[in-house]
């Protein structure tokens, strides 16, 4: 299938990109790796007038320790997250999650910023960053602001990002050796490169859920129970509280609730070394 025609710009800096976004408003769309945008454009579900390609901006392509955080340029590809030595040491959950996104070809192109911006509740990385208590750094001609990921998502495919803003960085707390309760990622699919039917990212007693509602969610009841000293089994049994899982050909909401509990238990057990 073939996208509707559009104009194309490849600005040579973030500032130039922001100026274009400001100029064209909602007629323009940002293209980074293109693996969220181009599929919907090919199905003609999206038809922007201008595509602004930020995929080559090296200033968005870095993964480095920055104080108590690891700062990840929004243009970092899934493959780069997967093999990052900094992340392997400091935030090992993220490479483990990135490794399960799509397939190798998709991971060579797709970016972490694009994945977070697309706001698909079935996407893995948003739930992982949520479990990590990460921050999303947004920049616009008006300046830069950091939004905790817990406040970033507002619904299916929607976020608090303003039309003139661009995700430039994702910050996640350095964990590494400080992890008291470990980390794990459980992803349940029918086929290896399917979207998760349900996914669970666990880090340091926090639990992020994939595909259990209109946004990535935290299993707050589970987290609270763990903090109160509940057993893993008992805490995991609360994982579907305050979720609103979807129905589709792969799963009923009831089945997703069940999976969320089972996967949460397994992830917590793995994280605790058990």
């Amino acid at each position: 299938m073939i996208p509707v025609g559009f104009d194309y710009a490849r600005p040579d800096s973030v500032d130039a990109a922001l100026a274009l976004i400001a100029e064209h408003g909602e007629d323009a769309t940002i293209l980074a790796g293109g693996h969220s945008l181009l599929p919907v454009m090919k199905l003609r579900l999206a038809a922007p007038e201008l595509v602004i390609d930020i995929g080559r901006l090296t200033e968005l392509n870095y993964i480095r320790v920055d104080g108590d955080d690891v700062a990840i340029g929004a243009g970092s590809r899934h493959r780069e997250v997967e093999v990052s030595e900094v992340l392997a040491t400091e935030v090992p959950l993220l490479p483990a999650v990135a490794r399960t996104v799509g397939d190798p070809q998709v991971r060579h192109r797709g970016t972490i910023g694009g994945s977070l911006a697309h706001a698909d509740p079935a996407s893995d990385l948003p739930a992982a960053v949520l479990a990590l208590n990460g921050m999303v750094v947004l920049r616009s001609p008006r300046g830069e602001r950091s939004v905790p990921i817990t406040q970033f998502y507002t619904g299916v495919f929607s976020t608090v990002k303003e039309p003139d803003e661009l995700i430039v960085e994702i910050r996640v707390p350095r964990a590494g050796a400080q992890l008291s309760q470990g980390w794990a990622f459980e992803k349940f699919t029918r086929r290896a490169n399917d979207w998760a039917i349900v996914g669970v990212a666990v880090v340091d007693g926090r639990v992020g859920l994939v595909n259990m509602g209109s946004t990535p969610l935290r299993a707050s009841a589970t987290e609270a129970a763990l903090a109160d000293g509940a057993s893993i089994e008992d805490a995991a049994a609360l994982a579907d509280q305050a979720t609103d899982p979807p129905a589709d050909t792969a799963a009923t909401p009831q089945y997703r609730r069940h999976l969320a509990k089972v996967l949460t238990r397994r992830a917590l057990q793995t994280a605790s070394g058990g």
């Binding site: 693996h35 599929p39 070809q105």
Partner: protein, 186 residues
């Protein structure tokens, strides 16, 4: 409507250029603008991998890359794989696919071969499981993947029989520990 854009893409070591619509997909650039027809289109959801090519050495699905995104970059298709091989001999992956009967109708083959080349570049010493998971982005309807997996193992310099036996034994040890190959004869 859209303005056109000039692209310059090195394809199989040779410079190519054209004025294209920005919406032109890389796969159509390769097939229709450059005229290299080995790269196939098997789906429209970035699922099947038939259109896989190497972009600056990494496997990508050329149905989900715009030609303008590949501007000033380098693309390798099946036709160019020979040029990666010393002396213009068939590429080791190509030889292995033939020797192991890793293709039938041939439609997934160009993409599968390039995905496999990229896989070995990243995992030079894969197990059978690594190969299976590493090819998750490429669909084949003919071979059941059995011989594709053997071909990739063989191209990695491994003995596919030994690798498949090892995988089977490790499965057996897991499925029926008391009766796995090692103990069955005891």
């Amino acid at each position: 409507m859209s303005t056109r854009a000039k692209v310059e893409i090195t394809v199989n070591g040779r410079p190519t250029s054209a004025d294209v619509e920005p919406r032109l997909l890389l796969v159509h650039y390769l097939r229709d603008t450059v005229g290299l027809k080995a790269t196939n289109i098997g789906c429209d959801t970035t699922s099947c991998g038939a259109c896989t090519v190497l972009l600056d050495g990494e496997s990508v699905k050329s149905c989900t890359v715009l030609a303008v995104q590949a501007d000033q970059q380098s693309v390798t298709t099946l036709e160019g794989l020979a040029e990666l091989s010393p002396g213009g001999e068939p590429h080791p992956m190509v030889r292995a696919f033939r020797a192991e009967h890793g293709l039938q109708c041939g439609f997934c083959t160009p993409g599968m071969v390039l995905a496999a080349v990229s896989l070995l570049a990243e995992h030079p010493d894969p197990t059978e499981r690594d190969v299976r998971e590493g090819l998750e982005g490429n669909l084949c309807r003919c071979t059941g993947y059995h011989n594709i997996v053997r071909a990739v193992l063989s191209a990695a310099g491994k003995d596919p029989d030994a690798e498949q036996r090892r995988e089977a034994e490790s499965d057996a040890a897991r499925i029926a520990p008391a009766f796995s190959t090692g103990e069955a004869g005891a």
